[in-house]
């Protein structure tokens, strides 16, 4: 029996080929670099963007928890793949899948790249909601694009997004309790005139 997840995948992926322009846009957006690089630059700009020491410290604390949240996200996805579940990519189960991407060999669930994008976007949202909304929108487009391109089931990207957001939220909570850590990093950076 085809699960709802797989039916949704077949519906979304079935749209490939109807609008060649959309296929080109999605192919560009879902490559391994574009969205990750854009979100990384947003975070880098945040480090220096504050107007005065207090505002800068707020943004830099956000930078630190997002960076550590990203590291935690990667570990969580790896552990998930090793100990919890290994799911074949949709193009293995459905050879007729319309592929707009190369054939990755790792587990389909959870989507590592979507987890990373949502970790970035959630971190940015927690620091600056106005920019964060755009970051979340970009991450969402990326996630849907990965399904459209035939390399993930919808549940893979939902799982990835949840892992990314939860990891950054956990790191934020942890660093609120261990405030000495971001404070120390910022103190050292301030001595170097970089914060």
């Amino acid at each position: 029996m085809i699960s709802l997840d797989e039916r949704l995948f077949l519906f979304i992926n079935g749209l490939v080929g109807h609008w060649p322009f959309l296929d080109s846009v999605v192919s560009f957006l879902i490559n391994d670099y574009f969205v990750v690089v854009v979100l990384s630059f947003l975070l880098l700009v945040f480090w220096f963007a504050g107007n005065g020491p207090t505002s800068r410290a707020h943004l830099q604390t956000g930078f630190i928890w997002t960076a550590l949240g990203l590291a935690l996200t990667n570990v969580a996805v790896k552990l998930f793949n090793i100990f919890v579940v290994y799911r074949d990519r949709p193009f293995i189960r459905y050879p007729d899948t319309h592929l707009l991407f190369y054939r990755p060999h790792d587990s389909s669930f959870p989507s590592n790249s979507v987890a990373v994008c949502f970790a970035f976007a959630a971190g940015i949202y927690m620091v600056n909601r106005r920019v964060g909304v755009w970051a979340l929108a970009l991450a969402t487009v990326f996630a849907i694009g990965r399904v459209y391109a035939g390399i993930h089931y919808p549940l893979d990207v939902i799982g990835g997004a949840a892992i990314g957001v939860i990891c950054v939220m956990m790191m934020r909570k942890l660093l609120t309790l261990w405030k000495w850590f971001p404070d120390t990093v910022i103190r050292i950076a301030r001595a170097l005139r970089l914060a």
């Binding site: 490559n31 391994d32 670099y33 690089v37 220096f48 190369y102 790249s113 170097l192 970089l194 914060a195």
Partner: protein, 145 residues
């Protein structure tokens, strides 16, 4: 793959240099600016970002195995590119602004990045070293206690 990683490094380096110039000009951190006019800094930011993105993302062999960069290597390359661009900005802006007369004098107490509104990084390097030693000393003594 190594060549693509180097291209990725260049993308990050050039774009970071441009974006940082935009931010420094926006926030008035004069000692880190390559240009005296804000408009020039914004134009430089836009041009370097657009040029490097166009160059990298129009590569015909991008994302075609084995020409891909794995996640871990991507992260390390991004960090290397971003850190290099910050160091480059500190040094080049110091060189460009070495003869510049700043409107206000250097404050006696450190206020971090804001110090570079009044001077260049190279000019306050001895103070930076002293402050860094003081911070590290206080951290070490804090750990011992």
């Amino acid at each position: 793959m190594a060549l693509l990683a180097f291209d990725y490094f260049l993308l990050v380096f050039v774009t970071s240099c441009g974006l940082l110039q935009g931010v420094f000009a926006f926030r008035g951190i004069v000692g880190l600016q390559f240009f005296q006019r804000r408009a020039c800094a914004f134009a430089f930011a836009a041009a370097s970002t657009a040029a490097s993105f166009l160059w990298f993302f129009t590569k015909p062999d991008l994302d075609i195995p084995p020409n891909i960069i794995e996640g871990k290597q991507q992260t390390l390359t991004f960090m290397a590119g971003a850190v290099s661009s910050v160091i480059f900005s500190l040094l080049v802006a110091s060189l460009i602004n070495r003869r510049r007369r700043f409107v206000t004098s250097t404050p006696s107490e450190s206020s971090g990045l804001d110090d570079l509104r009044h001077t260049t990084f190279v000019k306050i390097l001895p103070t930076v070293e002293r402050d860094l030693r003081a911070v590290l000393r206080s951290l070490v003594s804090g750990v011992r206690k």
